[in-house]
Symmetry: none
DNA sequence: CGAGTTGGTTCGGTATGCGAACCTTGACGG
DNA sequence: CCGTCAAGGTTCGCATACCGAACCAACTCG
């Protein structure tokens, strides 16, 4: 079994592997935009500020990597929009960690807040079952990928 | 007051600010190496696999950004090693999130999950007031640099 | 004295990033 | 019909950034 990590320089590590997929300048900003509801090319373009052709390339790469899914919403003229796959949604913890760090160490104004209907939105760990925000008492659980998720 | 975020394209956001500091190809790998105990130039070089001059530039940038601290351990010949500052240590959650994602989607390794009381925990954007998970249609409610803060 | 190590810098070719312009398909207004 | 506009890209050409190879200065060890 060939492993993508083998082609990377340096220490063999999942961090390097993840960065190989989403470690360029625009990829995580694209994921941020899509996670915030910007699904169309032009919305993502505006939200990220990336150059158009870079964005084209990035979107294609992220679709190929399985982070985004392209959905055609008009056959003619051909128009697509972009949605997060499960892999894409699973990048949210990375964005949250980056945002917290940026809030603390980069932004010298009060951190930028996301709002909807006048309410502030924050990043949280949420229990899939309870729907409850989780503060402490998180257990790290290692599960083999071939084993089914716990019921 | 000038804010570093103002110089970035796209939506004004701490994520973009954080990526401006640690979003290039080698920065987070350097932080990983230092956090794993590689403090000398040659150790970091070997662990990351980065080209030498890139590493020189990256180390200087990370010292300037306050992520690393350079300590001279020999006056002649001038020799320094590198240590994490508090800001650098605070990047560990980012590395952990990336590692978890890489474990699951890039590497052929068993993934790691978080659980509490037997329930799986995932990350979401959550409205502080409603407690509601946010997905679609949030974009127009997001405050950006062109829009005044809500009162 | 000569070879080796550390921690870099310099150099030149190449890959990548970027902005400007262009293209195609269709919608809309007159 | 005809002209114009918008979405969603693609093509082009230049400028920057990246990269490997070579070089270097200051020791240290044999």
């Amino acid at each position: 079994m060939t492993d993508r990590l083998d082609e990377l320089p340096g220490r063999r590590c999942s961090i390097a592997g993840a960065l190989d997929v989403v470690g360029d300048r625009w990829a995580l900003l694209v994921v941020r935009e899509v996670s915030l509801g910007a699904h169309r090319f032009s919305e993502i373009l505006r939200g990220t500020g990336a150059p158009r052709e870079q964005l084209t390339a990035r979107l294609n790469a992220l679709v190929d990597a399985g982070v985004l899914e392209r959905r055609q919403y008009s056959a003619s003229p051909p128009r697509s929009d972009y949605h997060l796959t499960k892999a894409g949604r699973d990048l949210l913890p990375v964005l949250q960690a980056l945002m917290q760090w940026g809030d603390r160490y980069v932004a010298d104004e009060p951190p930028v807040e996301f709002h909807h209907s006048g309410h502030r939105i924050t990043a949280s760990w949420v229990c899939d079952v309870c729907g409850e925000k989780v503060g402490r008492g998180i257990e790290r659980h290692v599960r083999d990928r071939h084993e089914p998720a716990p019921a």
